[in-house]
Amino acid sequence: MRLTASVAVVGGGVVGSAAALFLAERGEDVVVLERASGPTQASVRNAGGLRAQCRNRTERRLALASIALWRDLAARTGIDIEYRQGGNLRVALAEPTLDALAAQGVEEAEDGLATEIWDRAALRRRAPHLSARFAGAKYCATDGHANPILATWMVVNAAKAAGVRYLTGADATHLDVDGGRVRGLRATAGGEVLHVEAPTVVHAAGPWTAALAATIGVELPLTPARNAMLVSERVPPLLAEFVSSHELKVYLRQARAGQVHVGGVFTVDGTFDQRVTHAEIAHLARAVEILPELGRMRILRTWAGTLDLTPDHLPLLGTPSGVDGYLVAAGFSGHGFCLGPAIGRTVAELVTGEPTSVDVTPLHPDRFAAC
């Protein structure tokens, strides 16, 4: 089978779907190829954190733009994505950790992001359910969280409503390049070969991006990594904030239905295997050290998703030199749910040649090629 489009997007996760949505809104004729039956990977397996604080400057600006876009999309579509602006709380065990967090706040204020430092007493008062052992915390009231499953499907459906052809069960196998330009791609769908002719290809296939890019000589420094989560039984409301500790390497949030979701600030690198090991479960259970009341609860389920880590943990966004029309949007290193809509909009701006709303030149994929 053959079809033509002005833009072909590989990967129907939150990033690919958001790119498709903003491209279609700019009048592009977009086809998305997703090899599963829909978004089934990191985009629907993540912790739902929507956070601008404690980030690199470029990511911070993207995150601020993206949180606004998430709210706007939910308002436009009327879909409840369980968004909650409950704040983001980065807790610190040691005084030096708190000092480092405070220093970050200065740069954030320059970008218009307001945060607060809570000392031990303030933390006890403002978040009484948390363990008393923390020296303090950095708090960002405008951050929050949402249900990633509902949110990602909202983007997929908005893209479809904007005219995007979202093909499922379509596995991209070849990128067609000729004379330094991308011409389209080939995929297998339902046992058949599908040829897509398109002058622009957006590659947003998460950790699977590297293998296909390598077939046209583009080496992307992406490491697949497993990141596990667990969820408690439903419990009455305990906390509004998304709380994380980089010292204990765990974070948690309470979903609207009452379950506490626990994630890890650690990964198992170099694997696509999504089976959760006992060591990971035991580490995640240490969330009781943040929220002691978890100790009386039971762990209900666990799962894992695959991250796409880059050496500097910043995304790869842009056209690698030598392949015109080919745009990479991958390497989100565990931050891509929050950033999805802003990345999608930036991709659309890059494709149509508009000036980008946020300067993303520091994210260019060629930044590693030099060294």
Binding site: V156, G295, I299
Partner: protein
């Protein structure tokens, strides 16, 4: 803790497998979630106002045999995680109340049984709706009757057996038993040949129902339950060949409780967690492990027997358990088994085939749930949400689960996902992940 052989599930299959292993001189541990051994059929009562029944006496003998052979029985203990070790053994993680422990074994027999399939229909979440197995258990264990006029509906021998012990108004068996018998009279005869005990049990139930004046209708089923706060009645109808209600045949009846039973679904989580290769066999109850000689699964050292490998009844479970026990012994010692119950196996397989031909749920049942009917009780997901998710592009069980949260509650989808599977396209078997049963946070955190 470690053992040569670990057996999970102390029902017919597990008790027999553990006994065989222990008699061969191997250290053997038998783990079961319940306080009492025996599994679904042979479970021993904690205390009973009645004289022990024939099955209880039989069960007592099985448990005693295991005990005498030297099996270490670990009851009130569930397996919540399991891993295959690089050296070939298996590590089981156990939870018992708030305590966690591990059990290393060289061979593992999985005999986790099956649970009743639930088919959602309007009103099925009303107080007063039970499964036939629950009605039977309440009656057996505590002498409690769930109602004075109980409607039984669904498919499978348990429907009849459970009804015979209670005050049933009507028993509706979806399958047209007579027709199946008439079309395969030989199969029926052969299948039941030498099934004296079972036949007596079945006839006994039918006779007791008849004496009580309870109508038994085949080719009929329940359409919906009536009542606001609890069951007050039901609408029932004749079913077509696909078990879809025949328009115009509906009729209402008064009842104060409803017991449904739509055959059984094998409990395969532990097998899937261990990575055993699975195959889809509707006539056996759904996804079941592929097996080689002596009940070996595709995972070296892991054997599977009884209802968790396909619904086949207590008799087949006993035989398979014995074979799996020999499989485990051979895996650990290299000794070839001497005498295998192959004749009994062939006989029981005939019964299993007959069971599958008669009692495999048909697709028409899927039309019972209306858009506002709850499908997943834990997460309160309706049939309408499932349909909407499918319209939006979710086509497999796992994507419907991701979109709707159906199956993400405490029962881990054991109840609702088989019903969702009837609606969705065939996909791979749902992933199983630890914990197989909820585990206490504190204990897991401190064992890290």
């Amino acid at each position: 803790m470690s053992a040569d052989v670990a057996v999970v599930g102390a029902g017919a299959a597990g008790l027999r497998a553990a006994t065989v292993a222990a008699l061969a001189g191997l250290s053997t541990v038998l783990v079961d979630s319940y306080e009492r051994s025996g599994g679904q059929y042979y479970r021993q009562p904690v205390s009973t106002p009645h004289l022990p029944s024939r099955t209880q006496v039989e069960g007592r003998r099985l448990v005693d045999a295991a005990y005498t052979a030297g099996v270490e029985l670990r009851n009130s203990t569930s397996v919540w995680d399991a891993t295959v070790s690089p050296d070939g053994g298996v590590t089981l993680r156990l939870t018992s109340g708030d305590r966690l422990s591990t059990l290393e074994c060289r061979a593992l027999v999985v005999a986790t049984g099956a649970h009743e399939r639930v088919v959602p229909f309007p009103g099925w979440t009303l107080p007063g709706v039970y499964t036939a197995g629950a009605v039977q258990a309440l009656h057996k264990a505590h002498g409690v009757a769930v109602g004075q006029r109980v409607l039984f509906a669904g498919t499978g021998p348990l429907l009849l057996v459970a009804a015979a012990g209670t005050r049933a108004v009507e028993v509706l068996e979806a399958s047209r038993l007579a027709q199946a018998g008439a079309r395969h009279p030989l199969a029926t005869a052969a299948g039941l040949w030498r099934q004296g005990e079972r036949l007596r049990e079945g006839l006994g139930s039918a006779w007791r129902l008849r004496r009580a004046g309870t109508p038994l209708r085949t080719g009929w089923g329940i359409v919906r339950a009536l009542g606001d706060d609890r069951v007050e009645g039901a609408v029932v109808a004749r079913l077509d060949a696909d078990w879809r209600p025949v328009r115009g045949s509906e009729r209402a009846l008064v009842c104060d409780a409803i017991a449904t039973h739509y055959s059984l679904v094998p409990d395969t989580d532990l097998l899937r967690l261990l990575g055993a290769a699975m195959e889809h066999r509707p006539e056996l109850g759904g996804w079941v492990p592929s097996r080689g000689p002596l009940m070996a699964t595709s995972v070296p050292g892991v054997f599977a027997a009884g209802d968790c490998t396909g619904i086949g009844g207590a008799g087949l479970s006993l035989v398979e358990g014995e074979l799996a026990g020999h499989g485990a012994v051979r895996h650990v010692t290299g000794r070839e088994p001497r005498r295998l119950p192959l004749t009994a196996l062939r006989r029981e397989r005939r019964f299993q085939r007959l069971y599958g031909a008669l009692f495999t749920p048909r697709p028409g049942l899927a039309v019972l749930a209306r858009p506002d009917t709850v499908v997943c009780r834990c997460e309160e997901v309706t049939r309408g949400s499932v349909d909407a998710a499918m319209t939006a592009g979710a086509r497999t069980v796992s994507s419907v689960k991701a979109v709707t949260r159906c199956g993400m509650g405490p029962c881990q989808g054991r109840i609702c996902l088989p019903a969702v599977a009837q609606l969705t396209a065939a996909g791979p078997p749902p992933e199983a992940r630890a914990p197989l049963v909820p585990v206490p946070f504190e204990a897991v955190a401190s064992c890290g």
